[in-house]
Symmetry: C2
Subunit: 288 residues, 2 copies
């Protein structure tokens, strides 16, 4: 009689698309004793599969920052049909975190390393009194803003630049960003060693909703430094209020110093809109 | 020399229109040590005016229930221009409570006693995965619902009925409602001694929003018993799922017993939409 070999089943790599309201979380990254998106997801995976891999995000979002489509990857040994994992996670996760898609992907896929681009939105409420149902998801900007000047400033960021004037100045974060620890990346892909990023599109749009008029900055690039979108927006606020001119921005970029740029816009207005993978997230072939 | 008389200024009665996200509050009514809308508003009035009248609401909303236009009344001695009170309150209130209007009204106006009608909305999310940005403001109803049956059930409530089958069965609340303590009303105007109310309109509508498709029950009447809208909706859910027929509802009304009706729908979907005053809230003449 031939003994059966121990199970040789390989772990299956998963890609999850997540939407979350970041208001009540201390950001993406797991922190002992604090509610975080990564921590909630790890705990939910444990309840559903009996395994507790630490899911990797496409990047960290800060406390209070939201996601329309954050991407997470991890591997599980348990063979679970995607529709079942999807349903089971949504049943156990808090309602402020939703899985919108769950797919199996090749083992080479990694939510952060495989990312080739990202889009963020920053949402501003423009009315007199911000409806309480919007307050968690917008920055209620109290000043008049020169939209044409905002638009002109946004165009200056297009292309390849050293964005170090727009990277977080927190010394702890700066150290982390310089050492590019893969477990605690302070910067997005693709290049964690430099502060050079390429911005593919950068523009402001006005959007009317049932709840009121929003002004939205949408930026797409190959990666973003820590706090970069909020720092771009804070600097553009200075332009929109007339404290800076769009033509002052090249000198701010050239200064390569955080103190040259404007303030950091509040987290509540920021949404990770989407992440691009250039095909690296194609569905995995069925496991045999 | 004639001594000047002590100030004979009369208190000015105020009417505020409030919108709030009820999620993080223990309802309207002030409770020691608990966050409530009435308590937050009283504290804000104290910070702004130095006076701390207890504002009267058009009715209590329960924990987790929201308001698009709740009405509050109170009197202040300090002469404050309405635009200033409006701005100052919004500066000091939490962002989840907003004053959308502040006007002076005749001293005969009382937010609850003067009310002649109210409209509520109950909002249901109908998609597969409820976006986290909607989750606080809808009930994500997991079952298929027969819309025509819901609509037929809603029509049965039109007109004048004894709604005691749809009033909260909580014994403490029932006692309070029987004694109609004006400081802690468990029922809405106009008649706190009976369980008879008149419903002027009662219908379901579908509304498409950027975040997804909603199904909304909108009901307008001369007053509502405690939990009445949530109990009407919970009973209509039973109809929409095929567990009850619209023609079973007259017998439920006739039973005059809470146990005859369906469950209480979750608070998160309920909005106080508006309050009517039949002219009793006409602006006050300017004080001399």
């Amino acid at each position: 009689m031939i003994e059966s070999a121990p199970s040789a089943r390989l772990p299956q790599t998963w890609k999850l698309t997540l939407a979350y309201d970041g208001t009540d979380f201390r950001g993406w990254q797991v922190q002992p004793g604090e509610p975080t998106i990564q921590g909630e997801l790890q705990a939910a995976l444990g309840r559903v599969s009996g395994e507790s891999p630490l899911p990797q995000g496409s990047g960290r979002t800060d406390a209070g920052v939201h996601a329309l489509a954050q991407i997470a990857s991890f591997a599980l040994l348990a063979p679970i049909p995607p529709a079942n994992l999807h349903r089971a996670l949504n049943r156990t996760l808090p309602q402020s975190i939703r899985v919108s898609e769950a797919t199996t992907v090749p083992s080479t896929f990694h939510a952060r390393h495989s990312a080739t681009g990202k889009t963020y939105e920053y949402r501003i409420f423009r009315g007199e009194v911000c409806p309480p149902f919007l307050a968690r998801y917008v920055y209620a900007c109290p000043w008049p803003l020169d939209i044409a000047a905002l638009q002109a400033a946004a165009r200056v960021f297009l292309g390849k630049h050293d964005f170090s004037s727009f990277a977080a100045s927190d010394p702890d974060l700066a150290t982390r960003s310089l050492h590019s620890d893969p477990a605690a990346p302070a910067q997005d892909q693709p290049d964690t060693h430099t502060t050079v990023r390429t911005i593919h599109s950068s523009l402001w749009e006005q959007r009317s909703t049932e709840a009121g008029d929003l002004l939205i900055y949408r930026v797409r690039g190959n990666g973003f430094l820590h706090h970069m979108v909020r720092n771009l927006v804070g600097t553009m606020f200075d332009v929109g209020r007339g404290h800076l001119r769009p033509r002052d921005i090249p000198a701010i970029l050239a200064a390569a110093s955080r103190s040259a740029a404007g303030p950091t816009a509040p987290a509540r207005g920021l949404f990770l809109h989407s992440v691009e993978y250039g095909g690296a997230d194609a569905p995995a072939p069925e496991q045999q």
